[in-house]
Symmetry: C2
Subunit: 373 residues, 2 copies
Amino acid sequence: MTRKSHGDIGNRSTIRDVAARAGVSASTVSRVLAGDYPVSTATRTRVMRAVRELDYVADARAKAIAGVGTPTLAFVLDDITGPSFAHMAHGVEREATRLGHLCLVCSTDGDTEHELEFIETMRAQRAAAVILVGGTADTAEYRARMSRIADSLASAGSRLVLCGRPPLDPGTPVTVIEYDNESGAYALCAHLLAQGHRRILFLGGKPANTTAQGRERGYLAAHRARGEEPDSQLRLAGDFTRDSGHRRIRQALSQGLEFTAVMAATDMVAAGALTALHEAGLTVPDDVSLVGYDDIPFARDLHPPLTTVHVPYEELGRLAVRTALGRTPDAPNEHLLLGTHVVVRDSVAAVPGQLVPDASARVSSQAPAGGLT
Amino acid sequence: MTRKSHGDIGNRSTIRDVAARAGVSASTVSRVLAGDYPVSTATRTRVMRAVRELDYVADARAKAIAGVGTPTLAFVLDDITGPSFAHMAHGVEREATRLGHLCLVCSTDGDTEHELEFIETMRAQRAAAVILVGGTADTAEYRARMSRIADSLASAGSRLVLCGRPPLDPGTPVTVIEYDNESGAYALCAHLLAQGHRRILFLGGKPANTTAQGRERGYLAAHRARGEEPDSQLRLAGDFTRDSGHRRIRQALSQGLEFTAVMAATDMVAAGALTALHEAGLTVPDDVSLVGYDDIPFARDLHPPLTTVHVPYEELGRLAVRTALGRTPDAPNEHLLLGTHVVVRDSVAAVPGQLVPDASARVSSQAPAGGLT
DNA sequence: TCCAGTTCGGGAACCGGTTGCCACAAGTGT
DNA sequence: ACACTTGTGGCAACCGGTTCCCGAACTGGA
């Protein structure tokens, strides 16, 4: 069965096919398509017709190898399913295409091996920049590995961008864009403390995860700023998923752990926690207060609407590609720190039966002393 | 200026650089790296050392052009920010890398022009398959355009996959994977009707969007199966966002529109609607019942947990790449239809002050007569 | 010692484009 | 009629790899 009068199936046409059909040389076809070189109208017409008839599109890889391709940019995240990073992916993607770049997205599911592999692939693809987002275990091995990657990317004319990850040793060719986990958590926890809460359950992330660590540091610092030390039993590690939040609250409740407020490291975690609280017959915020982190769109649809910390993820994504792509080769390494702010909704109340010490507590995102640079 | 001194920034090394450093020819380096050809141990060692010292990685584009590259696969969606498609992206991504493919993700923000442009780019990249997901306006022009794309993709040995989009004319080389919008909506709406609801507000999508249309058809069919015709004022068009759901409910309420249940075309819309209902002092499900569609993870954290239709998005994504990549060139066109099912939670109650006609109403995902093929 | 068989490695063509350089034709001024 | 532009398009080198083909060196057996 003939599929189509011209062109066997699976046989893409090359520039030489077009040239032959138009009765010119490949150079001429290339020049017509590029549009920069003087070509007579008659020739141009013939070439264009051949292009149309063959449905020809120049091979992007071949162009790239010849040095005239569309530059590419890679974006690596843990899990594209999480709303916050999805927003960031969106920002990255939009800005990349605005700047005429192709954008490759890869989610690693938290698998370091996979991450490494993908970065190597991107280096092979000669990506203009590789953007890594999300916390990781900040081990010595991690730093060594990242430094190596940064170096080899740089020596290939590319650029490593770390988003929401700890910076590497100064001098390493890397762009770092952080959002302030510690200050946000500090402000949020201070808000809780100002409402009289003293036993605040902290639903953290994986112990080694830097994002989780930053938020936990804020939680701790806010307590210590008031001269208090939180019960270490109140800090529960886990995943950044709703199920994890749900599970941890159920366990805490069944173990008889006492707390008047819950501070979840993530809105997703908070969502699961909220449901577990409800299921236990507790009402928020009357019985227990609850706060999250990230300010995903959904946060305001929880019942009650969730008090949380707003992180400008989409802007973060845009910024990442802008600074990575817009830099001059010998510019100093950028290190940006984006501010966050608490958005107060209805999931926090004063602890029952206790006077609120400071009813007009200021809510801000000031870093505690010794904050990040 | 000399071309390179192996340490200059921005000068990636080529296979010839490695060859020179190892004192062999480029062919040998290629063979060592490929690992398929017999090479003496001494030579291999020297080559590997040179590779390491130069931190060399073969250019993937050059390999691709020579016919030994990593195949690529493209995934195009409306908005990566929406939870359901994000899950699908996840499925696509996982399956693609499992099958050794690179995966390009692009979100078009609903811009047809952008979509077209991206598909063309993918054709230039010689992507093995292009997966389009999400509803669109099903116009004659759309079909013509898609058919053309399908043809030119096919003639280049690639494959167009439509996910959750209407099929094209038979004979067009395209793989279609649909999930059953109509049946799901039918079952969901039947569930509502069985609870005695007669005025069900339908929060749809953009009028031309096929996903929205499918769900609306289910809504209509369920009514008609009981010999009823829903008030057309109860069908409100809009976006698939929480804000749109919120806005529409607020307006409906302020206009004094009467309804005992809300059927949102999307869980996101339902979330916004729920909040608007709450804000108006209405409680769900006592005052008004509410259902969504998609079963995003968040749905069970709404208050009350949302009754909705489960769509296996991640599975859908995996399936899409599996069938697209696993097909033999001359196989007939696949057209899969994935089933959905209602998941009953607590957001639906019998209409107040009315006897429930059929308390043991079966909840299933049977298609209405004349359903999809 | 000579020859066949292996093992190993280089030269060159090729993948599908781009582009510098040059040749040829037509047009122009004197 | 001649030299000089100017417009046009082809040849060939190049981008960075892979691989076919062939020859050199080394091996072992007779």
